[in-house]
Symmetry: C2
Subunit: 274 residues, 2 copies
């Protein structure tokens, strides 16, 4: 799968900008799954099968698997998505960042071991720390830019001295990626829904680059403002992530049906503003 | 183990500022280990047993294990270090960074699953992304500040507007950590040996805070300049990392003896400048 091609096809054919984030927390699973040895896989598999036709991509968050020694279940989950939903790209949310020789190992982890179609990467260590991911031309490399959490402002909102008057660090990151790191056209950026003004600025700086937007739902970001700020001329360009609000919509054996209902509502709420 | 206490004791009692980085690359292993199912563990175990009395800490790099589905061998390795070398702290080099709820999962991964004594963390997402690690008061939290790779300058060397005239981003990170995030006294910073002037500046900003210094050996950093810039008044305060130069010093069945020889030389070269 070529990530960017598959993402654009999913936006168009599924008529969806929704990304379902797979952050499996066993404490929140329905009782009938608790204690099963493959509960993490099984919970995520049912969410995936119930929502795949409603999403433009899935985004498993690796920490939730790693904290529970469940890398094998993450492998099985991504294999399942590729086998059963082959048109649906998988973004591995790992936010890696290290020197080149180590980044090569992380790229192997994400793209060869886990068979992800894209990965989130932290830009703090600069271009050579990102190149090993960019070297996979079919894969997506989605750089943190303006994150949705309160502390995101500590560094990202600092004003930096340079060509632009009043330019902030997140804007410099957006420019670096758009003007330099994206030579192969496989980059995206993370911009939180909690900051619509910055989504608009990043859209201005990056043309039609795909933006991964976390922060709607549990984190309080506004869908209308996100769409208005971030949609491209074609009404796409966004992967709008929702995790907890969809995953834990239901608490019973029919949790996947509840998840589907909320995913449908969320997709439609997004589409109402395209 | 209380990381900071153990680190200070190791500096003093072992008379060593050397950190051996465990970046196991099976392609570089001696022929007799190649193809063994637990080759990664066995290679690292022999390095650890041959050098433990010469180091102030070990630093396994998680990507080298994750790329090869060898998390179980990393668990076994850290268990081995705790059992056989209980006074030697383990810094898990993972450079994690995510919003608070996800960072909690990464903290579980590092401190509970892998039983590391300290972790490296990326500061780009700000204070609330670091707090879940700081919440473990016995553990060390070592923030990236000025990294040893060429691309480190892309963001870290940008001048930021604020209280200090001409302050660079890495200096702001050092100040944030020293003046705010280090309330429990369990923080450290990563500053590359390739930039002695910045080591000196970080030392000036952070008092006696422990600095993890990669970049000597294969990356070309200078030991004398690093010590002159970064040692504290007591001639300590540094974890000077060497990985490849020690791990791959020998290519035969006696590779661990070769590693010990180079580790001893490196420790003594460091001590010559304390």
């Amino acid at each position: 799968m070529h990530f960017m091609t598959a993402l654009k096809a999913a936006w168009l054919q599924r008529n969806s900008l929704l990304c379902v984030g797979l952050d499996p927390d066993p404490a929140k699973f329905p009782p009938h799954l608790q204690g099963q040895p493959d509960a993490i896989f099984e919970f995520c598999r049912q969410i995936v099968d119930a929502t795949a036709d409603l999403v433009c991509c899935f985004k498993p968050q690796i920490a939730y698997f790693a904290a529970r020694r469940a890398e094998d279940q993450l492998e099985a989950l991504i294999d399942h998505i590729h086998a059963r939903h082959p048109a649906t790209p998988v973004v591995l949310d790992a936010k890696r960042g290290d020197i080149g020789s180590t980044a090569e190992q992380y790229a192997v982890e994400a793209f060869e071991r886990f068979r992800a179609d894209a990965i989130t990467v932290n830009p703090y260590m600069g271009r050579d720390s990102v190149e090993p991911y960019l070297a996979y031309p079919d894969k997506g490399v989605i750089l943190l830019c303006r994150t949705s959490n309160p502390g995101g402002s500590d560094l990202q909102f600092l004003e930096v001295v340079g060509s632009g008057v009043g330019e902030k660090l997140y804007e410099r990151v957006a420019r670096l990626v758009a003007e330099d790191w994206n030579a192969s056209g496989n980059c995206g950026l993370v911009v939180g829904a909690t900051f619509p003004a910055e989504i608009a600025r990043v859209r201005q700086l990056t043309g039609d680059m795909p933006l991964l937007v976390p922060g709607i739902g549990a984190q309080g970001g506004d869908i209308a403002a996100t769409l208005q700020a971030g949609r491209t001329g074609a009404g796409a360009g966004l992967m709008i992530n929702s995790s907890r609000a969809i995953l834990y919509a239901g608490k019973g054996e029919d949790f996947a049906a509840d998840a589907r209902r909320v995913a449908l509502e969320t997709r439609d709420a997004i589409n109402a503003h395209r």
